[in-house]
Structure formats: C-alpha cells, structure tokens
C-alpha cells in the first residue's frame, strides 16, 4: 500500500505534501557552540570557497553548497556537524539551562536498526565535537535504571524515539517499503514505554520532549495521549519559528 496516501483525509493540500516529500534535502550543518561561533565557522567556509546560507530560525544552522559537508575543515575540527535542519528542533524545544541534567533516552544515531555500532558512532561524534559533560550508558530506555549514578532524577529528558521513519522519505525514498501496520503497533508500545519512563525519571516541574521522524498519528498523538493519561504530567506548549528556505513558518505543540 502507498503509505502516504493514508494521510489524504488529514491534509488540506495533499499535492503540495507529496511534492514536498519529493524535494531533495539540502545539505545542512549545525555549528557546534562548544568549539566555534557561527561567525568563525562561516569565515572558515569562506576560506574554503564553500557557499553557505543561515537557516533563519536557528542561528547555528547553515545550508551548504556542497554534497560533502564532512569534507571541510570545520567538520574536521568538530565545529560543524552534518544533520537535517529539522533535527535541531527537539533540542531547541528541550532548551536546557547550564548545570541541568538531561537524559537523552535514545541518543545513539541510526533509525530503527539496533546494534552496538551505533554506540561507537555516538561516542565518535561526541568526542569529535568535544562534548565533555556527557555520560553514555547502554541499556534499555523502557525500564531505565539510574542505579549507576549518584542522583535519582533528571531535570529534563529528550525522547527522540525509534519510529517508522516515514519523514525521512526525502533522504531515503525506500523507507516506506518496510512499513506495516504490525510494525506500527509494536513500535508504538516501545515508544510509549520510553516516554513514560522519561516522565517518571524527570523531576516535578521538569521538561520532557518527545519527537519522532514520522507522520503516523499512532506514533505521535496516540502515544502522547496514553502517556498523559497514565503518568503524572501535563502537556506544555513550545513554539519554534521554522522558516526553512522559503517554506512557511509553524509552531510545534509539545
């Protein structure tokens, strides 16, 4: 079945939605504030003759005129990290203060494949970016224990959960081929368990951010509804003005 046609009744201008899904992704990097300012990162790109354009809504995001953002001095020095523009959104909404403890419940990169290689990818990137304030554990987020640590709650949590990845269709057109309703059921229960554990381990008054890269309401609104029903928490509202290269802005409820 055509995965995206499910959404036709939900979307006003479905043709525009389909056209958006077919547009190729631009090459975007985030400037790593630990190591460089956006100004210095841009000066280095100028020196390499690589054109760059800031992505208005986020001062640290730059769209580059190259297919190889990893092959730049900025990337080598850990000033730049290649990521989709939208991937900066969960952290922007989470918005931790200096000194706070944040649990990134699904920090290792890489869609729904699960293997230890993702853990070394996480460590490799963290060290290249000079992230010295991070501790990495390898355990199931659904029943996560804070046992190894000398504290018993987090200030904030970020659940960028594994999902059906429908939204990655712009970089991976084959993504929908693995799609099934059975997978949605299975992954939604995993997502709910991760989100609920994050709520339980976050202090009263703290913030939990839930994000996916899928359109499926089964993995988004339905998961939030169940977590809100079953845990001691309430939904908040965050807004981030996303104005990506001529596309309209919007706000994201959390």
């Amino acid at each position: 079945m055509d995965v995206l046609s499910r959404y036709e009744p939900l979307i006003d201008d479905f043709a525009a939605f389909e056209a958006a899904c077919e547009r190729p992704l631009p090459s975007v990097v985030r400037v790593n504030g630990i190591k460089a300012t956006p100004g210095r990162a841009r000066t280095a790109l100028d020196a390499e003759g690589i054109e760059h354009e800031p992505c208005g809504w986020h001062p640290g995001l730059l769209e580059l005129d190259t297919d190889h953002p990893g092959r730049t001095w900025g990337a080598f020095h850990g000033w730049l990290h290649g990521q989709e523009e939208v991937s900066a959104l969960p952290a922007t909404v989470c918005d931790p203060e200096p000194g706070e403890r944040v649990w990134a419940a699904c920090a290792a990169p890489g869609g729904k494949d699960r293997n230890l290689g993702r853990l070394s990818a996480l460590r490799f990137n963290a060290e290249r970016l000079g992230v010295t304030s991070m501790a990495v554990t390898n355990r199931d987020a659904r029943n996560y224990s804070l046992n190894p640590f000398d504290f018993d709650e987090f200030d904030r949590a970020l659940c960028d959960v594994p999902c059906s990845c429908e939204g990655t269709i712009r970089k991976n057109p084959d993504a929908p081929e693995q799609w099934s309703l059975g997978y949605l059921d299975e992954i939604a229960s995993t997502q709910e368990a991760i989100l609920r554990r994050a709520i339980q381990t976050t202090r009263p008054g703290g913030t939990v951010v839930y994000s996916t890269c899928t359109f499926a309401p089964e993995e988004n609104e339905a998961v939030l509804d169940r977590a809100l029903d079953r845990e001691d928490c309430s939904s908040g509202r965050a807004s981030a003005s996303i104005r990506a290269c001529g596309e309209p802005s919007g706000s994201i409820p959390t």
Binding site: K35, R71, F76, V131, T132, P148
Partner: protein, 182 residues
C-alpha cells in the same frame, strides 16, 4: 612511571575510577594522579591547570584517561564519561586528538603551526619532513583558520620528520580550494 607495589589493587577495565589527587591517595598501582596530569599539560604544553578546574579525571581501561566536566561518585560502571584525553601506558604520555582539539587552544609551547598545505597532508595521515627547532616527541600540531590558531591533533616529531598521529577514523582528504591560502 611508578612500578606496581605491594598492597595496591589492579586497574578495573570495565568501570571508571576517579584519579587520586596525589600519590599519597593512590589505591591502584601505577595509576596517574590528578596532580601529575595537571603538571603534564602545564609543563609540556603550557596549559594552565585552571583550564581543567571544572574537570574530573578518570581511568577506564589500562592507562587510558578520560576528562569529564563535572563531578560524579567513583567508581562508576558505564560506557563512557566525558572524552578520552591522555594515554599514560608508555614513558612519554600521549594526548588524544580529541583532547588536543578541545584543550589545545590554551597551549603556549610545543605547538607546531603548519601551512595550509602541510595541514592538509597532516590530517590525511601523512608523515612529512618539517623544520622545527623545539623539543622532539609529541607536539600539538595546529594551523591558522578563520583568523586564529586552531589545533589539528598530535604529531610525533623525530629526526626532522613530523609523524601524523591522527587516528585512521579521523583522517580526512580535504581538497577544497582555499581562497586565502596563508
């Protein structure tokens, strides 16, 4: 380096142990002390100990030291804590590429600044003949980028040759045209 001595425990490879502040507090044979680590960066590279004031130092794996910004109870059995930053197994201690990229900006000696072309060869992992009047051994290798000196990694300087110590996974072939080649 101190020899293992009677009554002291062995290093534990699967957990992080905070370094003792001084030799008097040492419980594991041969383990570096915080004092010795601060002295190393200060004496070898001129990095003031105050740069590391907010960091705790840890050992996991044999003689592999980690720097963590913050404090946490020791020991702790987890995958990683901060970044790897110093190897103390050999007589000459060796900083990691990531540590030099993170802290090397504060260095005031034993820093070798390369031209852009030599920097390109260095990050590709090539060894090259370079004139250098300073100390031999592990140097912080840098170049000028966007108006300031920026550390690239560690080079081993011996007999007129700079040997790149950039690990395989961090090497890059950077071929972009530089508009302002220094």
């Amino acid at each position: 380096m101190s020899e293992p001595s009677d009554g002291l425990a062995e290093n534990h490879g699967s957990r992080f142990d905070r370094l003792p502040a001084t030799p008097a507090e040492r419980e594991v044979a041969g383990r570096a002390t915080r004092e010795a680590v601060l002295d190393f960066w200060d004496e070898r590279y001129g990095i003031d100990p105050s740069v590391f004031a907010d960091y705790s130092f840890w050992e996991k794996g044999s003689r592999k030291l980690w720097a963590f910004r913050g404090a946490i109870d020791s020991p702790i059995a987890i995958e990683s804590l901060g970044i790897t930053f110093l190897r103390t197994r050999q007589e000459h201690w060796k900083p990691t590429t990531d540590a030099v990229q993170r802290f090397g900006r504060h260095a005031t000696r034993n820093v070798l600044t390369l031209s852009r072309e030599a920097a390109r060869r260095f990050v590709a992992g090539e060894d090259q003949a370079i004139e250098w009047d300073g100390d031999w051994g592990y140097l912080i290798v840098a170049h000028d980028l966007a108006g300031e000196r920026e550390p690239l990694g560690v080079g081993l300087y011996l007999h007129g040759e700079l040997r790149s110590q950039i690990p395989k996974g961090r090497r890059r072939e950077l071929e972009g045209v530089d508009v302002d080649e220094p």
